[in-house]
């Protein structure tokens, strides 16, 4: 029963995908040849050409067909590691730059948010004292920090990492604090009747008890970080998948832009799945 549901949903997904491709194909085809020369006299075509609009070439410059995307994807994926200078690198190299920045910013955020969240969660005093700062800083778009980061750090790549850091830190901080604050009192009571030392209590009782909540925070942070890195790289330029999108837009290569969009989506999904897996590992049933 469960298996058949899975099978049916997969079939439906496939059908939806094929329908989407078909509509795309039809839509992009008709905009080309059909509208171009049909019903135009030779003079009209000539006149259009004089205006700088070549009806015969509309198709080449228009929205790419699925087949063209497929060909581009194959071209990129079959040779992902080439490096022909600053504006022409393989997709894997661009992705590696982006992932590296995200990983670094995210890791720094972990290092700050988890211990700080722990301390805040354990102390109602600190919780109240930190709250106004967190409430003000949390809703700031990470990209709003960019000018400040560029001015103070002076290095565009490091500024990108900083932006990732600042956007990942809040969900992790809040979730860690919340998770730690809501550890069941009875487990803490058990720990105190067993005279468990503070450090052991933190790692053996509070951390595992709060781990599911902390990982939820990490998963949210990672999602935001992956959203933000594209925008950040469009701003700072140089390398990365975001810069790739910007660069291909400037090249007016929509095929490459669409391919990059797909890659961003797939990588984002894989990251989320990885964190979902981690989350399952630390989740417990009461």
């Amino acid at each position: 029963m469960k298996k058949s549901l899975r099978l049916r949903s997969a079939l439906l997904s496939l059908a939806l995908f094929l329908a989407f491709l078909a509509v795309w194909q039809v839509a992009t085809q008709s905009s080309g040849a059909a509208a171009s020369q049909a019903g135009m006299t030779a003079e009209q075509i000539e006149y259009q050409k004089m205006l700088g609009k070549d009806p015969g070439q509309v198709k080449a410059a228009g929205f790419p067909t699925p087949a063209e995307i497929g060909a581009t994807a194959w071209k990129h994926l079959s040779n992902p590691f080439y490096d022909n200078g600053p504006n022409d690198k393989g997709i894997a190299i661009q992705l590696a730059w982006s992932l590296g920045r995200v990983a670094l910013g995210f890791l720094l955020a972990c290092l700050v948010a988890v211990p700080l969240g722990f301390v805040i969660g354990m102390s109602p005093l600190l919780q109240k004292a930190f709250d106004p700062f967190i409430q003000v800083l949390k809703p700031i778009s990470p990209l709003a920090w960019m000018p400040l980061a560029l001015y103070t750090i002076k290095d565009s790549s490091t500024s990108g990492i900083f932006v990732i850091f600042i956007c990942s830190v809040w969900p992790m901080l809040l979730n860690t604090a919340f998770g730690v604050a809501s550890v069941k009192r009875e487990w803490l009571a058990v720990a105190s009747t067993l005279e468990v030392k503070p450090l052991r209590r933190a790692f053996r009782v509070i951390l595992p008890a709060a781990a599911p909540t902390i990982l939820t925070g990490m998963r949210i942070s990672m999602g935001i970080a992956w959203l933000v890195i594209v925008a950040a790289e469009m701003l700072v330029g140089g390398t990365g998948i975001g810069y790739f999108v910007w660069n291909e837009w400037n090249n007016l290569s929509l095929t490459n832009v669409i391919f990059a969009i797909l890659v961003i989506g797939v990588v984002g999904m894989l990251l989320d799945m990885a964190f979902a897996g981690l989350q399952r590992k630390v989740t417990y049933v009461e």
């Binding site: 069941k184 009571a189 105190s192 009747t193 067993l194 595992p208 417990y284 049933v285």
Partner: protein, 283 residues
């Protein structure tokens, strides 16, 4: 103001043999959440080594607070608790606690839940010795087959058995049980009561236990403390206290099944029920 209760107190202390050398001594204990209106005040009783004492009373009379003070988890507003001649100040491995909600850590298996306690008690023990101790106490409560299961895979009765095994595994000087069978169905409750009694008799453990169940108290306890709630009287507010101490006259070797055939069972039961119905919660 509280003269009648004072007489009851004296009577109960007099009933306890050798009060001065008692293993656990509680003196003048009081707790107020609202200043000037203590939940209970001037509570005093003693426990001898190897004695099983139950405290029975309505909700809100402060039983759990007394137990938490004995455990060191809560601080009394006034009064003192001495165990083995030393004042109780904070939680200690010398007093094992079984919580009403079993309080097992759901991310650990039964084995590791108990090992956590054993390692806390004897940090210097090698892993093999810890495991040996764990297995000994798991089999004491008859859970050998479930030792590598998580608490979520166990029934309520099994979880409570694990809680009991954990409290016993650190071999404390005394055990505090906060209504450990309150959440269990009657059948399971009966089985675990028998098991608990067997283990307590075998280990000669000193036990202080909260219960709502009169039969449970009669089955397990050597002495039963009857506690009444604080109440407003014509003479003003009267804080809760132990109204009476009942010494269980039934033979020590008793079973749940044969309990109601014993001479004196009904007299004892009626006495306690009458207390709960008429005197525990003075209008």
């Amino acid at each position: 103001m509280w003269s009648d209760q004072g007489i009851a107190m004296k009577a109960s202390i007099a009933a306890v043999p050798a009060g001065g050398s008692a293993f656990l001594r509680i003196e003048g204990l009081s707790k107020s959440f609202v200043p000037g209106k203590p939940v209970f005040a001037d509570v005093g009783f003693t426990l001898d080594r190897g004695e099983f004492v139950c405290i029975i009373g309505h909700s809100g009379c402060g039983k759990t607070t007394i137990l938490n003070v004995l455990a060191g988890l809560d601080a009394a507003t006034g009064g003192h608790v001495f165990m083995d001649g030393r004042e109780v100040a904070g939680p200690s491995l010398e007093r094992g606690v079984v919580f009403q909600s079993h309080a097992l850590m759901p991310w650990l298996t039964v084995r590791r839940n108990i090992a956590f306690a054993v390692q806390s008690r004897w940090p210097e023990w090698p892993a093999a010795k810890v495991d040996e101790q764990v297995r000994r106490f798991v089999s004491l409560v008859g859970l050998d087959g479930a030792i590598d299961k998580k608490p979520s895979q166990l029934s309520g009765g099994m979880k409570q058995r694990v809680g009991i095994a954990r409290a016993f595994s650190i071999q404390p000087k005394m055990l505090l049980l906060d209504e450990p069978f309150g959440a269990l169905d009657a059948l399971t409750r009966g089985t675990i009561q028998d098991e608990l009694m067997a283990i307590v008799r075998q280990t000669r453990q000193t036990v202080f236990m909260i219960t709502h169940d009169v039969d449970e108290a009669i089955l397990l306890a050597d002495r039963i403390l009857l506690m009444r709630n604080g109440s407003e009287t014509a003479a003003g507010y009267r804080p809760g206290n132990i109204a009476e101490t009942v010494v269980n006259p039934l033979p020590r070797e008793r079973t749940r099944a044969g309990l109601h055939h014993l001479d004196g069972y009904y007299a004892l039961r009626n006495h306690i029920v009458d207390f709960l119905v008429t005197r525990a919660r003075a209008a």
